[in-house]
């Protein structure tokens, strides 16, 4: 089974790209060639480890269990135990960075937060916090599922090795030399993304914090009513039972907040997806820029050739002037220059041809992937908003119930 998979998965990136482009550039996921069809993937567990890091300091970190099972075995009804290996967050990051560099025109799915920066009403941001670890586990699984269902990315060899080869995978990735291909740092729009992120999420979190406070403060009514009911005859029972409802009201906010957290994670995911999208656009711009440079270079070289050949100077140059003043150079020198120029022009034309092809290819593929991403995003987020509405309705229903009950108790006072 493993050998089959290996044969099908292609080592060279270009080949796999061509395979995909021959297939279809449509928006739908071409599951026929994607990894997820052949393999069931999940991030099952998380565990704490400690060990010595690169600078020989003791550190604690979390590892995640990546499990895979062959799909055909499952389909046949056999239930083989999964193959599994442990991966750290940094290894997921490495995989993603590799994919980003290797497929510059693909919107690579995002990873969950590196650090627990935005934690919901907890005292400190702790990477070891069980809630954070759990949310991260889910995020990592989503990442793998998305990559493995992508028509192009899923065929990548390093991805397959990530899922199957526990030891030596990192070295293998470094050996590809992908770091040298790293493109321009996108610092400008990172700032923009941070601002958007800050606005939406810090506010979402602040709203959640405030809501939490409102609910919890009502819990004090429970205590106070209980004390008060002790001294009242007719009102005692009503107060006491109303107090219990206040306690229930205060407790109900924990579930509500858990759901809001989930919603926030969904929004967050797509906002960071947007970052990847912008990266693709910038890379395309860069390609175009390089093409322009190459074209300009070619044009100027051709002009130089013309000037040399005809002796007519169209553009002002110091060399031209000195030639006029002090006489032109010897014919042998001119000959040599001309030959060199011809070579450079030939090279330049090749370069321009290559770059043009590259640009066109990038444009086509990037566009296809962007459209695919947009559709997916629109679909996912619409659903997220529907769920948000449902969540709010459910929260209101609970509120109605609690306060109706409280009202009944007050009526008995």
């Amino acid at each position: 089974m493993a050998e089959d998979v290996k044969e099908e998965s292609v080592a060279s990136n270009d080949e796999s790209d061509r395979a995909a482009s021959d297939g279809s550039l449509s928006n739908t996921v071409n599951k026929g060639s994607c990894l997820l069809r052949r393999m069931e993937i999940c991030v099952a567990e998380a565990e704490k480890r400690s060990g010595k890091n690169a600078v020989s300091m003791q550190e604690t970190y979390t590892v995640y269990l990546v499990e895979t099972r062959p799909m055909d075995a499952i389909a046949e009804g056999r239930n083989p135990p999964p193959d599994s290996l442990w991966r750290r967050y940094s290894e997921f990051e490495l995989l993603r960075n590799y994919l980003i560099v290797t497929y510059p025109y693909i919107v690579v799915p995002p990873l969950p937060e590196k650090r627990a920066e935005f934690v919901w009403h907890k005292l400190s941001a702790d990477n070891m916090d069980p809630d954070f670890v759990e949310r991260r586990r889910i995020g990592l699984e989503n990442f793998l599922l998305r990559v493995a269902s992508h028509p192009v990315l899923s065929n990548n060899e390093m991805l397959y090795q990530f899922l199957t080869k526990e030891h030596g995978w990192k070295e293998m990735v470094y050996e590809t030399g992908f770091q040298t291909k790293v493109q321009v740092c996108n610092s400008a729009f990172c700032h923009h993304w941070d601002v958007l992120y800050y606005n939406s999420f810090s506010l979402l979190q602040r709203v959640a914090d405030r809501l939490y406070a409102v609910y919890k403060v009502h819990g004090n009514y429970g205590r106070v009513f209980s004390e008060w009911s002790a001294i009242e005859k007719e009102m005692g029972d009503g107060l006491q039972s109303a107090g219990h409802h206040m306690d229930a009201y205060a407790a109900s906010v924990d579930d509500i907040l858990e759901e809001e957290e989930h919603y926030a994670d969904q929004l967050k995911e797509y906002l960071s997806y947007a970052e990847a999208l912008r990266a693709v656009c910038r890379k395309h711009e860069l390609s175009q820029f390089e093409l322009e440079m190459a074209s300009q270079d070619l044009i100027s070289k051709k002009q130089q050739r013309e000037e040399l050949a005809t002796g007519i100077v169209h553009t002002f140059s110091l060399k031209g002037m000195t030639n006029k003043l002090f006489g032109q150079e010897a014919p042998e020198q001119r000959e040599a220059k001309l030959n060199l120029l011809e070579e450079l022009i030939a090279e330049g034309e090749e370069t321009v041809k290559e770059k043009t092809a590259e640009c066109d290819e990038h444009a086509e593929k990037a566009w296809a992937d962007i459209v695919r991403f947009k559709d997916q995003k629109d679909k996912d987020l619409k659903e997220a908003f529907i769920n948000y509405a449902l969540m709010q309705i459910s929260m209101c229903k609970k509120g109605i119930q609690v306060w109706s009950n409280a009202k009944e108790c007050f009526l008995k006072m």
Binding site: V214, A389, L411
Partner: protein
């Protein structure tokens, strides 16, 4: 419907000077002439009242009010010396002791204070509903802030209305003066002088130092209740203030949160509509929260505040009762140890104690009943408002859900 008090020809108390009023309803006859002649002394008045206690529910239900008072129309008066606010006090009544059926006067806070202290003096162990505070340290420092004036006006209105509902206090001479006299200032300056008030305070202090010989158990229980009630009211009041504060902060955040969706919608195409939808739901939610806060501050907060003040009133009433008893005990002891022979005086004081205790007993259950009614009503309204709030918010999101469902 005109209500009347029936006079059965017996001697009447000083306030109600021998007018015969029309009788309209058989029920009124039933209620007011329970077989007893009209009281001719404060003591028998109280006895009358205590018997009527059994029909309290009936009484309050029948709303046989014959005097209606409103407080409104605050105006500021600026003079060289001072600036103050006056309120218009309008009285409509069919009571015989009033020459006219309608009165309109302007009163300032000091006038209300005067009325309260006169009532407390004349009826030391009756429970007078509290006045709004002289100063509010915490939030509204500005005396002439509109909210402050409105809150005060409402509290003054309630103060006077509680008096009209009180069978004894509403017949007070000073109350009538307060409602009818054009100028109260000259009268304010008369009355028990500063010195006599001082001596009373000193006597009270001396008595409290001596301590009471024996306190009837019922009053000891009452005292304990008053102390506990005071603590409980303060706690409930504090919690409610905290809740209002948290609600406000929640609303402030919602007001900022909503616009981020509209902002985001600007850079979207297909998602623009759903985003705007969510944004407007959040906006609606913040408006509803605002309304909820408003309601809370107008209904629950003032009621709880008044009962915090009531607790202080009760404590004062208990103290006054104790002083009356202490005074009697002091003179009684003096008599027993033969340092004085003023038996008459001791008898009078004994009577006074008896009256004070009875008055308090009567008013106590009356007060308990109205306290229960007030607080119960305030909490019920609050709960109902909260239900209403959640229903409105839920409806808003439901529409969004339906819209989105149809769109997909």
């Amino acid at each position: 419907k005109k209500l009347g008090i029936v006079m059965s020809g017996a001697k009447v108390p000083a306030d109600i000077s021998g007018h015969m009023l029309d009788l309209d309803e058989e029920e009124d006859l039933e209620v007011f002439s329970k077989g007893n002649p009209m009281p001719n002394s404060p003591d028998s008045m109280v006895n009358q009242f205590r018997l009527d206690e059994e029909n309290e529910e009936e009484q309050q239900g029948a709303i046989n009010k014959d005097i209606f008072v409103t407080v409104d129309n605050p105006e500021s008066h600026i003079s060289a010396i001072e600036t103050f606010i006056t309120y218009r006090v309008v009285t409509r009544t069919t009571r015989s002791e009033f020459d006219s059926s309608k009165y309109e006067v302007r009163r300032r806070y000091q006038d209300f204070l005067w009325l309260k202290s006169r009532l407390e003096e004349n009826y030391p162990t009756l429970i007078v509903h509290p006045l709004p505070e002289k100063f509010v340290m915490k939030s509204m420092v500005e005396r002439f802030n509109d909210d402050f004036i409105e809150t005060r006006r409402k509290a003054l209105h309630r103060f006077l209305n509680r008096i009209t509902e009180h069978p004894i206090l509403s017949c007070s001479h000073h109350f009538k003066v307060f409602l009818t006299e054009e100028e109260l200032a000259p009268l304010r300056k008369l009355g028990p002088g500063f010195l006599s008030r001082m001596s009373e305070t000193m006597r009270a202090m001396a008595n409290s130092v001596r301590g009471l010989r024996s306190k009837l158990e019922e009053f000891a229980i009452m005292q304990e209740y008053v102390d506990d009630f005071s603590n409980n009211m303060c706690s409930v009041d504090k919690v409610t203030h905290r809740i209002t504060k948290e609600h406000r902060e929640y609303m402030d955040e919602l007001k900022q949160y909503g616009p981020t969706y509209f902002h985001w919608a600007e850079s979207e195409e297909l998602l623009a509509e759903p985003l705007k939808g969510v944004g407007s739901c959040v906006e609606k939610c913040s408006k509803e929260t605002e309304e909820q806060i408003q309601y809370l501050s107008e209904v629950l907060v003032p009621t709880l505040h008044e009962y915090v003040l009531c607790a202080d009133t009760l404590k004062a009433v208990m103290r006054r009762r104790d002083n009356i008893q202490a005074e009697f005990e002091a003179k009684n002891e003096a008599l027993a140890s033969k340092t004085t022979d003023k038996e008459m005086e001791v008898d009078d004081l004994a009577d006074r104690v008896e009256q004070a205790n009875n008055a308090l007993r009567g008013d106590w259950s009356r007060w308990r009943t109205s306290m229960r009614a007030d607080l119960k009503s305030a909490f019920i309204s609050t709960a109902a408002k909260n239900v209403d709030y959640y229903e409105k918010v839920s409806l808003t999101y439901w529409f969004l859900f339906r819209l989105r469902k149809e769109a997909t």
